[in-house]
Amino acid sequence: MAAASPSRPEILSLFRSLLRTSRQFSDYNIREYSKRRTIDAFRLNKHATDPSAAFADGKSQLEVAKRQALVYSLYAPKVKSIMELNH
């Protein structure tokens, strides 16, 4: 069922989708964390010989992130975190 090995465009597309979904989180801390973790995880697996396990994991994380971005936006507090306001 799983693809033999994900191609480079597929990996890049997953990376972009994850970053795009990260930007949609309404909570400052979660947003920064998901951006940072995505970049670090892809950097860590850059030279992996067989990226299919990491790719499958990434795809499932993308599904989780999409759902949770929606849930967080439904319950976003009106007052934003102090870090998001101007100093």
């Binding site: 979660i30 009106k78 102090i82």
Partner: protein
């Protein structure tokens, strides 16, 4: 394909509609006209307890509790929505799927501490697990064992359980700690008696963050064949916890310190050699009779997911949090003098930074730091005015104990938050020191301790 279109459309409308969604009404059934303005109504600022702040404070109190990780929430939600069965119902799908989820979560918790799933009992939190361990063990073995050894820096629930045991007639030895917060293993060895029934030492202290020498204490307990209990609520998922390396018989775990839900914890009970306890919650015999009561499936699933995440992310988190802690400490030390780190600097958990600022009053410092959520002392004891008993046990002077601030750094803390916290702390401390006559005297070179204060 159709499902994809529907979900994108739904997401677009939901995200568009949130701007016009009414805020979640906290008092939906009140019929009286709202005379008290709801503090969360005004979108530009927040006024709570007479203090007005323009945004939600940045959270640096990870030892009190931690935010729930979105991946944990994602695992929990189905069990609130459609899979709401009672795991002890044996006759239908709802019960079976709930039970399966509980057993998977049990395995996830066990894997993090290198135990077997059969040795994990779910409780309502680390406090309940501590109660079962301390009181339950001694009550079970009360014919032969009358003595408990613990330390002066334990969590309040352990100390209170020991006090309860003292009232029942047991003997308790409260071991002192060295000035860096660590237990002296030699003193522990000397305190052991033939009728010692339990040794209880917490792995990572919640106030000062020091990591006790668990392997040495475990070796001593193994030598004398005494059950070793540890409160690992702050240690789980943060440092390497291994029940065999530490030789623990009982371990208390907490869900909400590792980015899981509040209201759930676990108790590890060794099977070989078997440790027996008297249950504190009697009832239908759930959780092998140790803790009766319906096992809360969503919370248990959340704790299991949190443990699994902690196992995968521990190395990454530790490296990052260590970098953030150094950044914070260097940032503060570069601008301020008279900053003391409470507790050992080498043997500490990197996410806990407990600092004392000399010549500054603690309450006023905390009140000035209203844009940073930190605590002084622990969440359990900060209601009273006396300085924390942990700092007193370390031998810290009263005035330094009053000005201690505990910064808790976690998985979701950013560099910008650390920089902002450093900036705010430095500004506040400098402001207070400028007003302080004691600091003026110190700057002139007078030794505060040598002053003879005149009696009025």
């Amino acid at each position: 394909m159709a499902a994809k279109l529907i979900t994108t459309a739904l997401r677009r409308t939901a995200l568009r509609r949130t701007a016009s969604l009414k805020p979640i009404n906290l008092r939906p059934f009140s019929t009286a006209a709202a005379t008290i303005p709801d503090p969360y109504d005004d979108p530009s600022s927040l006024t709570v307890k007479g203090v007005k702040i323009s945004g939600r404070p940045l959270y640096l109190d990870m030892q009190a509790t931690s935010p729930v990780d979105p991946r944990v929430l994602d695992a929990m939600l189905p069990f609130y929505l459609s899979r709401y069965g009672n795991p002890h119902s044996r006759t239908h799908l709802y019960g079976w799927e709930s039970d399966e989820a509980v057993e998977i979560a049990r395995g996830q918790v066990a894997q993090l501490i290198n135990a077997s799933p059969k040795e994990i009992v779910f409780t309502s939190g680390a406090t309940e697990s501590n109660n079962i361990s301390v009181k339950g063990t001694l009550h079970f073995y009360k014919e032969k064992k009358k003595h408990v050894i613990t330390t002066q820096t334990e969590h309040k629930c352990v100390l209170d359980s020991c006090r309860h045991l003292q009232q029942e007639g047991f003997d308790v030895t409260y071991l002192p700690v060295k000035s860096d917060g660590l237990v002296d293993v030699g003193k522990l060895r000397d305190a052991i008696r033939p009728d010692t029934g339990l040794v209880s030492v917490m792995a990572v202290n919640n106030e000062i963050g020091v990591i006790q020498p668990m392997e040495e204490i475990g070796a001593v307990c193994k030598e004398f064949k005494i059950p070793f209990h540890t409160d690992a609520a702050q240690a789980l998922g943060k440092i390497d916890v291994d029940v065999d390396k530490w030789n623990v018989s009982l371990m208390s775990l907490s869900g909400h310190k590792i980015y899981g839900p509040k209201g759930i914890g676990a108790l590890y009970m060794r099977r070989r050699p078997r440790i027996r306890v008297e249950p504190q919650m009697n009832g239908g015999g759930q959780e092998r009779g140790i803790r009766s009561g319906t096992v809360p499936t969503p919370l248990v699933v959340g704790m299991g997911a949190a443990c699994e995440l902690a196992r995968k992310e521990m190395e990454y988190d530790e490296k990052r949090i260590s970098m953030l802690q150094e950044r914070m400490l260097n940032g503060i030390r570069a601008k301020l003098d008279g900053v003391v780190v409470n507790g050992s600097e080498e043997r500490r958990y990197v996410g806990n930074l407990n600092l004392s600022f000399a010549y500054v009053e603690g309450e006023s410092l905390l009140m000035g730091l209203k844009e940073v959520a930190v605590s002084s002392g622990s969440a359990c004891t900060s209601a009273s005015l006396e300085p924390s008993y942990v700092l007193r046990a370390l031998g810290v002077d009263e005035d330094m104990a009053h000005t201690s601030i505990r910064f808790g750094i976690g998985r979701f803390t950013t560099e910008e938050e650390i920089d902002r916290a450093v900036e705010l702390t430095v500004k506040q401390v400098e402001k207070l020191r400028e007003m302080s006559p004691l600091y003026e005297m110190v700057k002139e070179g007078i030794d505060i301790k040598s002053i003879q204060w005149a009696q009025h």
